[in-house]
């Protein structure tokens, strides 16, 4: 006999079938297409697409951008989480809301705001021009726009984690004579290191894959664009095979990200960050 809160067999079968159909068709199939298209011409062509000058410079710039953005946002995330979870101050709720702004703002706006400051007709544009300082269409603007888009990623994971851990152990360490630095590295850091890594992984994936914000500040100058923009350039110039080769690298990155994220959620962070059933 069927239990009162279980569904009829037919409905059950239909819903599971629909779920499989949707996930396979919408999520898995496009992934297979990327891999197939990238490798269709054989490995030799695949590697020559990846080692082409444009590809190499795009990969290099993407790595350099992530190398600047991820540490910056991580330091910010740890500071913000420390301030918000260990102290009481006026405007705390407002601060938390402000940190989340980049999550609901369009990435294009994330690029636009820096163009309005550093662009030719921006607030600092004429001054920068006069002093021959290049920010727009160069590394600094790409870093800023990417930092905006990935801004809350580390803080957002750490705040609930540190919230659930409380301040008791830090206070105990303080009474035992630890100074601030020892307190952080010996007591707090071991408790939050997986949370930091979790945030860094997500931040890195988004930083390397960001398109909208970077496309505004990077334009389409060759040698000065990141991987997602180079994919578009290849695509527009009928270099479909190169586009897919570069896309397969980013796909590998997202697969790795997903794997590490799931491993962290299951092993270390289950009750805190993740509300999985």
């Amino acid at each position: 006999m069927r239990r009162a809160n279980s569904d009829p067999g037919a409905a059950r079968f239909l819903l599971i079938a629909l779920l499989f159909a949707f996930v396979l068709f919408f999520l898995v199939f496009p992934v297979c297409v990327v891999v197939y298209e990238a490798l269709r011409g054989g490995f030799a062509l695949y590697f020559s697409a990846l080692t082409a000058d444009h590809s190499v410079s795009a990969i290099r710039l993407t790595l350099l951008v992530a190398l600047a953005v991820v540490p910056l946002n991580t330091i910010f995330g740890v500071c913000a989480a420390w301030a918000v979870t260990h102290f009481k101050f006026r405007g705390k709720a407002l601060l938390i809301s402000l940190i989340e702004i980049p999550l609901w703002v369009s990435p294009v706006i994330g690029g636009l705001i820096f163009a309005l400051i550093f662009g030719r007709q921006g607030f600092l544009g004429p001054w920068l021009d006069a002093h021959d300082i290049q920010i727009m269409f160069a590394y600094p603007a790409i870093v800023l726009a990417t930092a905006f888009v990935t801004f809350p990623f580390v803080a957002r994971g750490l705040i609930p984690l540190m919230q659930s851990q409380g301040s008791a152990e830090e206070e105990a360490a303080l009474t035992l004579g630890a100074n601030g630095w020892q307190l952080f590295w010996r007591v707090t850091f071991p408790k939050i290191k997986w949370g930091i890594l979790y945030g860094m992984i997500l931040c890195n994936a988004r930083a390397m894959g960001e398109f909208g914000a970077v496309s505004v500040v990077a334009g389409s100058v060759d040698d000065r664009i990141t991987m997602p923009l180079q994919i578009e350039q290849y695509f527009l110039n009928f270099g479909l095979q190169q586009a897919f080769a570069l896309a397969s690298l980013l796909l590998l990155l997202s697969a790795l990200t997903l794997a590490i994220k799931i491993a962290l959620e299951w092993r270390h962070l289950a009750p805190n960050i993740v509300h999985r059933h």
Binding site: A4, L15, F20, H86, F87, P107, I159
Partner: protein, 321 residues
């Protein structure tokens, strides 16, 4: 992505726990420390961490966003008075081309969010309620659109749906004469892909927390399974469903990366608002671009405010039952 909405509630929790920390120590220290505010803070690093937080927040988020606002009222060579600048902003923001782009951006995002409401509900229900082979793998795959760069998604979907040589698009075109890529339908498909996880991840915890006793009670009172679903389960999870749909909607409105590939971006027809902003920038109409950016910002803020209201409403209802 969904979790950040809970943080507002978390903030009030911290304040509670912090008030416990200040007990006792104050009495002995008030004579030596003149500023009583400081003596309440036991742990070190308050000024350092809060200082850096506010500095970095200002540098990356607040000051640049203020620049957006200022740009719409600052006179330039082309528009020498405040009135003229504001006039130009109003003209650009209410231009037919802009209005068409809002209609496309918001209309398609809304349609995609509604469809994701249906697909997401089915997916979340099956993932939470049933156990079957491959459930954990499917559950993990739901996060794929979060992890995948939008340009990769756009490139792949274009290759699938292009009428000329696409894996499915070619066939759809030959059989039915349907064109998906480079039409609004292509944008819709990209937006469904992007928004799908929001609905699933918002619904899953709520469906999992639903008490089995309530359904059993409904069955005892003579309801059949469909009545139980419609009268008992659906009302309980509808705030979460709406929240997920609104989150997908908000994400879709700002989406650009995947749409660049799958849309032809023809003015008045398949041009979304983010694209129009970039075009204005390329035409060196910074004031117009700032105006459109501000318009999008205001509309996104409206969506976020709605989400927060829904959460508030859901929390209150949970408290009363």
């Amino acid at each position: 992505m969904v979790r950040f909405l809970r943080m507002n509630a978390v903030a009030s929790l911290t304040e509670k726990s912090q008030s416990l920390d200040s007990v006792g120590i104050e009495e002995t220290q008030t004579e030596t420390i003149t500023r009583p505010n400081r003596s309440r803070r036991i742990l070190p690093g308050f000024h350092l961490t809060l200082g850096f937080t506010i500095f970095y927040l200002s540098a990356i988020v607040l000051i640049p966003l203020t620049a957006l606002l200022l740009k719409t009222v600052t006179p330039t060579a082309d528009y020498p008075s405040v009135l003229k600048v504001v006039g130009h902003v109003v003209r650009v923001v209410t231009d037919v081309r802009a209005l068409d782009s809002y209609r496309l951006s918001f209309g398609l995002s809304f349609a995609a969010a509604l469809l994701n409401g249906i697909f997401g509900f089915i997916a979340a229900w099956a993932l939470v309620r049933y156990s079957f082979a491959g459930r954990r793998v499917l559950d993990a795959l739901v996060d794929l659109p979060f992890a995948m760069p939008t340009s990769v998604a756009g490139l792949a979907l274009t290759q699938v749906f292009a009428a000329n040589g696409g894996y499915i698009g070619q066939w759809l075109n030959e059989m039915f004469g349907w064109k998906i890529a480079y039409t609004p339908w292509g944008i819709l498909i990209a937006l469904i892909f992007i928004g799908f996880p929001f609905v699933v991840r918002t619904l899953q915890p709520v469906l999992a927390e639903l008490a089995a006793e309530v359904e059993e009670a409904a069955a005892c009172l003579g309801a059949n399974r469909w009545q139980t679903f419609r009268r008992v389960i659906f009302p309980a999870v509808s705030p979460a469903l709406l929240t997920g749909v609104m989150l997908a909607f908000g994400r879709g409105v700002g989406e650009y990366g995947s749409i660049v590939f799958i849309s032809s971006m023809i003015p008045y027809a398949t041009e979304i608002t983010p694209q129009l902003i970039i075009i204005k920038l390329e035409e060196f109409d910074y004031v117009g671009a700032a105006g459109l950016g501000l318009a999008m910002l205001v509309m996104s803020f409206g969506i976020v405010a709605t989400v927060n209201l829904l959460q508030h409403f859901a929390a209150r209802r949970k408290g009363t039952t």
